[in-house]
């Protein structure tokens, strides 16, 4: 093909975050080099219809035949282990062919150097061996987990080796002033690979105005709004229940609460929450444009995922962040790092009664900041320059 081509790989299963970041960088690529063309490969069934892709960007969706079900932790998710054998192999081959045919000037891999379940390794090895790709670049989120956890996993899974042997550059979608990603994970030291922190990359403009959001939610323009989001929703029920229990009874009468469960909440939890929310006079939704929602909100309660936290902080909030507790510790690490600079209030899932209501009432009383610590467009432009500059 030509040297104007960029390939991207977004590891999404059911979520949107990775694909969204790739689309943001693709848009910046177009601004920097109008003749460039981008193909974003992913498994996700959401992006191609829910995100308007930038000019000269095309999506490529690989098939996944894994059923959605309840895993051993009782969480609803895509059960990758139950996928019949030919399909992981198929994706791996499709990615190899994509690079063989495109011979792109650059490949941007979002967040997971080996691809989901390692599906990208074969393609990367072939591309490297045959010189098919100009630059191989990883775009990684500020935080992957606690450093010791990440070091162990990267060692066990061979990620560290892949980074050294197959990548030219690691772009860090973060800011060392908030979290020093490179030194925390040994990038550039123990793991010999070049790094560049470009800043936080996120969707920054709200599709809907505050008035439009309130109208859609059936609220009065004069009412204040608390947005409570639970990320993808797999384990958001405890946060939303906690909010209804601890915060709602303490809110002034002009404040409305909107709770967004995320698409992956399982049916019994959703049913229970719907009843509790109705009894508390709150709106409960499965999904909503979160950027528009946090722009319209006067206070935000969210999980500690990259997009949730950054969108709220960028909109001028000091959100109350209740991190998901997982083995990697990603969200807890992020909540702590952001809280250290007073950008968020971190609240432990076990002690919602000790601070959640205060954090919400403080946000309502103090209003929003007028400035953001992030410059998402400049960050995306830096990422684009690293690909095609």
């Amino acid at each position: 093909m030509s040297d104007q081509l960029v390939a991207m790989y977004a590891q999404n299963g059911a979520g949107l975050g990775h694909f969204q970041r790739c689309a943001n960088v693709a848009e910046a690529v177009g601004k920097l080099k109008p003749e460039a063309r981008v193909v974003i490969a992913s498994r996700s069934f959401w992006p191609a219809v829910t995100i308007g892709l930038p000019e000269r960007t095309e999506s490529f969706k690989m098939p996944v035949f894994a059923p959605v079900g309840v895993d051993s932790n009782g969480e609803q998710r895509v059960l990758l282990d139950e996928e019949p054998a030919p399909f992981p192999r198929l994706r791996s081959r499709l990615l190899t062919v994509l690079l063989e045919e495109m011979r792109p000037a650059a490949l941007l891999v979002d967040n997971e150097p080996r691809g989901l379940q390692g599906e990208l390794v074969e393609a990367l090895q072939a591309a490297r061996a045959r010189g098919l790709v100009g630059r191989v670049v990883l775009g990684m989120r500020d935080i992957r987990g606690r450093p010791e956890h990440v070091a162990r996993r990267w060692g066990e899974e061979g990620t560290a080796k892949v980074l050294e042997s197959l990548y030219d550059l690691v772009l860090i979608y973060g800011d060392p002033a908030i979290y020093d990603t490179a030194s925390s994970y040994g990038l550039g030291t123990q793991i010999k690979v070049q790094t560049e922190a470009v800043g936080y990359v996120l969707r920054s403009t709200a599709a809907l105005s505050t008035e439009a959001v309130k109208r859609e939610l059936g609220l009065d323009c004069s009412q204040r709004l608390v947005a409570v989001t639970a990320g993808a929703g797999a384990d958001g029920a405890s946060l939303l229940e906690g909010y209804l229990r601890e915060v709602v009874p303490r809110l002034p009468s002009d404040v409305a609460s909107v709770l967004v469960t995320g698409p992956m909440m399982n049916a019994p939890q959703l049913q229970r929450l719907t009843e509790h929310a109705a009894a508390s006079g709150c709106r409960l939704l499965r999904s909503f444009d979160t950027v528009s929602l946090v722009h319209a909100a006067d206070a935000v309660v969210c999980r500690g995922g990259y997009n949730s936290v950054c969108e709220a902080v960028h909109a001028g909030h000091r959100p109350a962040v209740v991190a998901r507790r997982t083995e990697s510790g990603e969200q807890e690490t992020r909540a702590t790092a952001f809280a250290r600079l007073d950008l968020v209030v971190a609240i432990s899932e076990d002690h919602l009664e000790e601070g959640l209501a205060v954090a919400v009432l403080e946000q309502l009383a103090s209003g929003r900041r007028s400035t953001s610590p992030f410059t998402p467009e400049a960050s995306a432009a830096r990422a684009a320059a690293a690909l095609v500059g």
């Binding site: 030509s2 191609a48 000019e55 969706k61 030919p86 062919v97």
Partner: protein
């Protein structure tokens, strides 16, 4: 998973092929608990459908947005993306080793892009059954036959394909005769009836509620990409018939946004309701007369609901809609009104005549409701493929 079925549909932005093939896929999956279907196309539309765990889609990169590139360069881009799709399809067919491949509308795919994939499928699984799903009308017969001869399609139909399913009825369009199918091909051909889904997403009573009392005329332009002229003409006709007749105009999901303001003004002047997306089947059910283009699905749905649509076929280099509309008109199943010479008065006259007519056409025997007959024929083919059931 015992049986995998690969379906190729050539839609890019349109919906017709996707709607037909997913109706068939649903019927096959309902009847065969062991089957899985992979639909390959350039459309992201399947993401909107919920066909369960055993249905997945491969969304191929389509054309990059048209741009100011010189013609030579653009042609090169078209070729290179087609080359990419050809390789991805070949890889998918090889890895999947499907029991059956259903090629919708073009036996070798758009620009023969499935040619290598069919070879790969048969190499990976020598018992693979190749089925061509042929629309009642493909395009101008002479041109289609010439193209099929030149591109090896007729040869493939004769030597490689096991079955030709004609999605139509010989009393309406005798496709085998129209396209002068060679004897060896005609011997493999079976008419399935017009494939249409019977489920309605929109409740006709709700549709009725949108427009109020009185005779209701629906005007729909399918996906909408080139439907603005028809909508303009229909709204002008509605202005002549108002206030006795109410019009509901459905622009379609792909109607260019720039067309909508003028259409909205025209709708207001005619006392009509304009909406951008609505389940057309529900809208047909609510209406007393239908004005539409000559797309396969719309006409099949009109038959299902015993309406005699006023068809203004798509103009341009393709003859498909004109030929279909003329064939339907000949059997009294439609009124055909070529766009050239169409005036608000002539259209209003046809609408008034249709509203007064009392003889609803009975076309039940021309239909394949929910694709059940087609699915049965495909399952018959699967039985030949050596799959253990």
């Amino acid at each position: 998973m015992v049986e995998t079925i690969l379906i190729y549909a050539q839609d890019n932005r349109g919906l017709g092929h996707i709607r037909r093939t997913t109706t068939i896929a649903r019927a096959v999956l309902d009847a065969r608990p062991q089957a899985a279907v992979l639909l390959a196309s350039k459309s992201a539309w399947p993401a909107k459908l919920n066909l369960g765990d055993r249905f997945e889609f491969l969304k191929l990169p389509g054309q990059f947005t048209a741009n100011a590139a010189p013609e030579g360069e653009r042609q090169q881009q078209v070729e290179s993306v087609r080359g990419l799709r050809r390789s991805l399809l070949r890889e998918a067919a090889h890895a999947l080793a499907p029991s059956l491949v259903l090629m919708d509308n073009e036996p070798l795919g758009f620009g023969s892009e499935m040619d290598q994939a069919l070879d790969a499928a048969q190499r990976a699984n020598p018992d693979t059954r190749l089925v061509f799903g042929m629309r009642d009308v493909v395009d101008d017969p002479d041109e289609t036959i010439k193209r099929w001869e030149q591109t090896g399609v007729l040869d493939a139909l004769e030597k490689r394909f096991h079955r030709v399913l004609i999605y139509g009825h010989p009393e309406v369009v005798d496709s085998a005769v129209m396209y002068r199918l060679p004897e060896a091909v005609a011997a493999k051909a079976v008419y399935t009836g017009y494939v249409c889904s019977t489920t309605e997403d929109a409740d006709p009573r709700q549709v009725r509620g949108l427009v109020g009392e009185g005779p209701l005329v629906l005007v729909t332009a399918g996906g909408g990409q080139d439907g603005a002229p028809l909508l303009r003409a229909a709204l002008a006709a509605a202005a002549l018939l108002a206030p006795k007749v109410r019009m509901l105009a459905v622009a379609g999901p792909f109607m260019p946004a720039a067309e909508l303001p003028a259409l909205l003004t025209a709708a207001t002047l005619a006392g009509a309701v304009l909406c951008s997306q609505l389940d057309v089947r529900g809208a047909i059910a609510a209406s007393n007369a239908v004005v539409c283009m000559g797309g396969y699905n719309t006409l099949a749905e009109a038959m299902l609901l015993r309406r005699r649509p006023i068809v203004v076929p798509r103009t341009g280099h393709k003859q498909e809609q004109l030929l279909r509309a003329q064939a339907f008109a000949k059997r009294g199943l439609a009124r055909c009104l070529p766009f050239d010479g169409l005036t608000p008065e002539s259209l209003a006259g046809e609408i008034a005549a249709e509203l007064e007519s009392t003889d609803a056409p009975d076309c039940g025997r021309y239909l394949d409701r929910d694709g059940i007959r087609t699915a049965g024929l495909l399952i018959g083919e699967l039985a030949q493929s050596g799959v253990q059931t």
